[in-house]
Amino acid sequence: MHASFPVEERDILIPGRERETNQQIPGDPSIWVFVIGEMVAFSCYFAAYMWDRGQHHGLFLQAQRDLSQNVAALNTLVLLASSLFIALSVHATRAGDFAIASRFLTLGGTCGAAFVVSKAFEWSSKLAQGLTLGSNAFFMHYYMLTGVHLFHVLLGLVFLGILWRELNKGSPPRARLMEVGATYWHMVDFLWIIIFPLLYLMR
């Protein structure tokens, strides 16, 4: 399970050092245990959704019309931008530009927070229309999928907060921790990339 690379060397950041060598696990192996597990778990949610969709085909088509595709597309763009900022932040950390890395991190976190706020508005507008978790099979999946994803986003924001402290603590940050956090954040992003067409676009 444990890494083949010397942990101490990678924990200490050498400015200007890119991870040019191949065959390295990004971040550390622990986070990949988590990411792969999440992939499998989310596949199960997707499968359950698709199975129920087959059972209640008409209902799903009808209920989907109550969602706002445009807002969801905008959400996707916001999350993609946040991913870019986080990736750039990792690059800046490697280059030793901690102040810039911190600024990119803040931008990424702001996008993530915007996603949460917009989801909160989306949910409250649906709830105001009387569409709740218990309304029908489609909204059950809608709330559970977006809810579990939102929980991951919130956890990701906590993670970004930890990274922000790491970058601003005065001493050089641990590059590995930055990579781990970024890996988590990108996972949240690509899961949404699948959820978006699944819930909003599938006719």
Binding site: R19, T21, N22, Q23, Q24, I25, P26, W32, I36, M39, V40, S43, F46, A47, M50, W51, R53, G54, Q55, H57, L61, Q69, N70, A73, T76, L77, L80, A81, S83, L84, I86, A87, L88, H91, A92, I100, R103, F104, E179, A182, T183, H186, M187, D189, F190, I193, I194, F196, P197, L198, Y200, L201, M202, R203
Partner: protein, 94 residues
């Protein structure tokens, strides 16, 4: 700070955003309205590009393209299986 944007990552992001807008356009216009786009065809295209987007994030942002083979294979198989699962459930459930 601006210098950092001169990176492949920015191009990847531009491509990802363009693909998002494309599948949003295709998805919202299929199966509805006057200019009918074949719904099942659109679903296949939409999910194909969604998986392409996810793969771009995994390969470029998560830097899996430089990771050991087992990790690359795992990620790609997950994408392929998810795509296959969604599309086959879609056609089975119609």
């Amino acid at each position: 700070m601006v210098l950092y944007f001169r990176s492949t990552l920015t191009y990847v992001w531009l491509l990802l955003s363009a693909l998002t807008i494309f599948i949003w356009w295709l998805g919202t216009r299929s199966g509805t309205g006057s200019r009918e786009i074949n719904a099942s065809g659109a679903v296949v295209v939409v999910f194909f590009f969604a998986c392409v987007k996810a793969r771009l994030v995994i390969q470029k942002f998560m830097e899996v393209s430089r990771a050991p083979t087992w990790l690359r294979v795992t990620c790609d198989s997950w994408l392929a299986l998810t795509f296959g699962m969604i599309v086959s459930f879609y056609f089975l459930g119609r």
